[in-house]
């Protein structure tokens, strides 16, 4: 009963911890933190049932600022720790806060395996295409040729596409949003929270200090609408400042067409629940300058979660063998008695 009461009375403030926030002024992390604190009271989850787990990096300071349970762990390992948390207590709402270096470089393995297992976790990847906390080295999402302190002649690594990695790793929920687009961000956080299974969200996040121009093409008001495709389930893929462009298939490739030339009927209709991952993968590969960047939910399919299956097996075992009895266990197999 107290839970019901609390649900109603919780406000943004209840989720603000007493710790002083220490990101650089103007950092995109502030907006994400604020949206999270705004969204949580509406989810109807008791505050004590919420856990934030992070790794290492600027974004990973996040749990300290949330007045919930939290673990600020070690570099790259948050998905593995969160898997343990959720397996121990599936009633908890468990959020993983990570960055491009944390999730895709040092923690790549855990990231992949948490997605494929479909552990019921919400994984938010703050992508700023740079190592911020260590003061500006190139990251696994930095573009080729990016000049940083550790790549003075330009990065010679080919970048990873976080959404493509997620789709390939069997993710059941894959979405993208942005720190500056508060409304969209808040919608996507709510969608992620509502998904049962690993919900992966890539958030374009601005590192104002070390990579301030990374997302200009998605934030500058004169170009952003031509560069972003907002996905809506069941609706054709249309974008552009004047909503005059669409995407259709040309053979095996998507192409941008002008709606003045092409009938809307020919456009691809977004279907986020398409079970086959090909379509979501195709979306995940759409990139500027030739294609718009999809924002929104690329994929949302339902599959039993790891934590659910794990506890199902416990229940099944109890049903089949009865609740474990130590004495019986010890005496299974050959025994003998000494009088």
């Amino acid at each position: 009963m107290s839970e019901v009461m609390e649900e109603k009375t919780l406000t943004r403030k209840d989720f603000v911890s007493d710790q002083e926030v220490r990101w650089c002024p103007g950092c995109g992390d502030y907006a994400i933190l604020a949206q999270m604190q705004k969204v949580l009271p509406d989810l109807g989850i008791p505050r004590e049932n919420i856990v934030f787990v992070s790794g290492i990096g600027c974004s990973s300071r996040f749990p300290y600022y949330m007045n919930t349970y939290g673990v600020h762990s070690i570099h790259g390992r948050a998905p593995a720790i969160a898997t343990g948390v959720k397996s121990a207590n599936p009633d908890l709402s468990v959020w993983v806060i990570t960055g491009d270096g944390d999730a895709l470089s040092i923690g790549g393995n855990h990231f992949l395996h948490c997605l494929r297992r479909n552990v019921d976790l919400k994984v938010l990847l703050f992508n700023n295409r740079i190592y911020g906390l260590t003061k500006g080295q190139y990251s696994p999402t930095s573009l080729e040729g990016h000049r940083t302190k550790s790549s003075p002649m330009g990065s010679i690594d080919y970048p990873l596409h976080p959404l493509s990695v997620a789709v390939s790793a069997e993710a059941t929920f894959v979405a993208r949003t942005q720190d500056t687009n508060i409304k969209h961000l808040s919608q996507i956080l709510q969608r992620a929270a509502a998904h049962k299974g690993t919900a992966f969200v890539e958030i374009y996040q601005n590192c104002v200090v070390f990579n301030p121009t990374a997302w200009d093409h998605t934030t500058d008001s004169d170009v952003k609408d031509d560069n972003i495709l907002y996905l809506e389930d069941g609706k054709p893929l249309i974008f552009g400042k004047d909503r005059d462009k669409g995407i259709r298939m040309n053979g095996l490739q998507p192409e941008v067409v002008n709606l003045s030339d092409v009938d809307e009927q020919e456009l691809i209709v977004h279907n986020e629940s398409e079970d086959n991952p090909h379509y979501a993968y195709m979306l995940s590969r759409m990139e500027d300058p030739h294609m718009p960047l999809p924002f929104g939910v690329l994929r949302s399919v339902s599959r039993p979660t790891y934590d659910e299956l794990l506890l199902d097996q416990v229940d099944q075992a109890v049903e089949q063998k009865g609740r474990g009895d130590l004495d019986q266990l010890f005496k299974s197999g050959d025994t003998w008695t000494v009088e």
Binding site: A80, V314, W336
Partner: protein, 624 residues
């Protein structure tokens, strides 16, 4: 009765038998020859008859090294006795060699006067070449002069016995030759066949023809012994006279760890979360626990060692009793996360089943060279309690004890075992479950005055508060922190204070553990001090030296961090201290550093346990 002579008349010949207090048999053959199963059956039957038993299986490192070669050998040594046993025996008195490689590799170990049973059918040119023989040693005159050689065409005899079981292929029938060999050994030691027949019936329940074939081969082997009177005489090893009453079973160290963890979870009334990545020789713990889900055991086979460790930190944070196991290389990978557990001050158990190192090393062989790894193999000041059981059976108690320490003191705890005690077995008196003390694992729920790193005076443990508890929301992490509040702090005083507090917390565990027990004179010339799986060899060696009149005492450490509080005092009472270890002297190094004592070392790093005589020789050399 006429149909079943072997089963019912097993003991009629007893009056003919020569009596011995104990015998060591080594079964050796190709890894596909079923030697583990054969040895296991002989051991079970002997244990049920009331002998003490101790076994030592020796597996090849490769799953299927080339058949017929020495690297492809799989061995099972069993020591069975009318008296209390501590080891699987230094050397066998009976060697069952299923092929030339088994003969070549093990003959030098066989005691002079020992019995050598060979499968002559396997001594083909090809097999001889693979074993590195130029000529067939069985054809050489007097080649085995000091042994009693029993040549048995095992394959042929087995085929003959199973001739009319048409439903099985020749290959399947040939597999039963181990049953024939076992039957022959059963005859030799006047053992009944019932146990093994029952075992075949259960194991192959779905394949009646396989049950029939094995049973028939077993009996044929038994009757063969009777018919040919191959041996100079049968041997009888009587049951033990004085054994503590109770119900017994055999147990390996890994099985005992599984039981200990499950028992701890039940006694703490918590679910058990076990996160692990497969690694030799620790995997049987994962497999064992995966079969016990009806005890609310949640097993997580992680993507790597790091994830396994991290998952148990998460599970512990969320309120489960949690544990992981690995071996040296995996512990190395886990070490960063282990340090997170140290600073988060959460209860969990990390098991290191040591194997030969460094690097991949000798995965299937035993060693004790990870003591310094678990104590010091991490960055920063990182105190972790370490407990080390001495025998397979003790693994039960110390797994339980490790969980108890972890929860009472809110700390990760290392349970250090090794390949030897993990895989070898001994009789285990089944404990009375009700007599096992509960583990108090209450989670704090009272928000009044709560601080994440407030501490209990006696243990310095912080409260275990789990998510889901209203009003106690808090954040913990790996950054430097202030004691009591747990807030991030880089303040020099705060840092030094919490580092010292963690050290004091672990040191204080000494107030809760048993003092070191001494066997032998309370003071004198020599103390032999050991730890872990060398217990049996040390104990037997010291007992024999004492019987010879040497003044020597013995102690065995189960807690390596902290050391028992009486250790300093004990060390002072002897003129010399000998530390036998399967490493280059790691405990010796610690003792010298902690107590400024001079330590005599006996070290062996061959991937094998100590032999009793090796330790006796050292003791005698020191005292003569």
């Amino acid at each position: 009765m006429a149909e079943n002579p072997a089963v019912s008349e097993a003991f009629d010949h007893e009056h003919l038998a020569d009596e011995r207090r104990s015998v060591v048999i080594l079964f050796s053959g190709d890894s596909g020859d079923g030697m583990q199963l054969t040895g296991d059956q002989f051991t079970n039957t002997s244990a049920v008859l009331g002998n003490d038993v101790s076994t030592f299986p020796d597996f090849p490192a490769e799953i299927r090294a080339p058949a017929g070669t020495i690297p492809g050998l799989s061995g099972f040594q069993v020591n069975f006795s009318a008296d209390e046993l501590y080891t699987a025996g230094d050397s066998p008195q009976v060697l069952v060699a299923m092929n030339p490689a088994a003969l070549k590799a093990n003959l030098s170990e066989l005691d002079s006067g020992g019995i050598l049973i060979v499968n002559t059918d396997a001594f083909t040119r090809n097999n001889l070449r693979k074993a590195g023989y130029d000529a067939n040693p069985l054809e050489e005159e007097n080649a085995f002069g000091e042994y009693e050689l029993v040549k048995v065409p095992l394959t042929t005899l087995t085929r003959n016995a199973l001739e009319d079981i048409d439903s099985l292929s020749t290959q399947a029938r040939d597999k039963c030759k181990n049953a024939f060999a076992l039957g022959l050994v059963y005859w030799m030691f006047s053992r009944p066949l019932e146990n093994t027949v029952r075992f075949y019936q259960t194991k192959f329940a779905k394949m009646p023809d396989v049950v029939e074939a094995n049973t028939r081969a077993l009996k044929a082997g038994y009757n063969y012994g009777d018919t040919i009177e191959a041996f100079s005489g049968r041997v009888r090893v009587p049951s033990r006279a004085v054994v503590e009453p109770g119900i017994y079973r055999r147990i390996t160290g890994n099985e005992a760890v599984v039981y200990g963890l499950v028992t701890a979870a039940q006694k703490a009334q918590l679910p058990l979360f076990y996160g692990s990545y497969p690694i030799t020789p620790a995997s049987p713990i994962l497999e064992g626990l995966a079969g016990l889900k009806n005890f609310d055991v949640r097993t997580f086979q992680a993507e790597d060692e790091i994830a396994a460790m991290c998952s148990i930190i998460g599970a512990s944070f969320a309120g489960s009793l949690s544990a992981t196991a690995s071996s040296g290389p995996g512990i190395a990978l886990k070490s960063e996360a282990i340090n997170l557990a140290v600073v988060m001050e959460l209860p969990m158990v990390i098991i290191n089943v040591q194997r030969g190192g460094p690097s991949t090393g000798l995965p299937t062989k035993t060693e004790q060279a990870d003591l310094l790894e678990v104590l010091f193999g991490r960055n920063g000041e990182s105190p972790i309690p370490v407990v080390a059981p001495a025998t397979p059976g003790e693994c039960f108690f110390y797994a339980l004890e490790a969980c108890r320490i972890a929860i009472r003191h809110m700390t990760p705890v290392f349970l250090l075992t090794d390949g030897y005690i993990a895989n070898s077995s001994e009789p285990w008196k089944i404990p009375d479950v009700d007599q096992i003390e509960e583990i108090k694992a209450g989670n704090r729920t009272d928000p009044e005055g709560y601080q994440p790193y407030m501490r209990e005076a006696e243990t310095l443990a912080r409260p275990w508060v789990v998510p889901g508890t209203p009003g106690l929301e808090h954040r913990v992490g790996g950054l430097g922190k202030q004691d009591v509040t747990g807030n991030v702090s880089y303040d020099p005083e705060d840092h030094e204070h919490i580092v010292k507090t963690r050290a004091a917390k672990v040191a204080q565990i000494a107030n809760f553990i048993s003092p070191l027990q001494i066997d032998g004179p309370e003071e004198g010339d020599l103390l032999v001090l050991g730890w872990g799986g060398t217990y049996g060899a040390i104990r037997e060696a010291v007992t024999r030296c004492q019987a010879k009149g040497y003044s020597v005492a013995r102690g065995h450490l189960r807690s390596l961090n902290p050391f028992p509080s009486n250790l300093a005092d004990v060390l002072k009472r002897y003129r010399r201290v000998l530390v036998p270890e399967l490493n280059m002297g790691q405990l010796a190094f610690l003792l010298q550093a902690h107590y400024l004592v001079e330590v005599e070392k006996l070290n062996k790093v061959q991937g094998r346990p100590f032999q009793i005589r090796e330790i006796m020789e050292k003791i005698e050399a020191l005292l003569d």
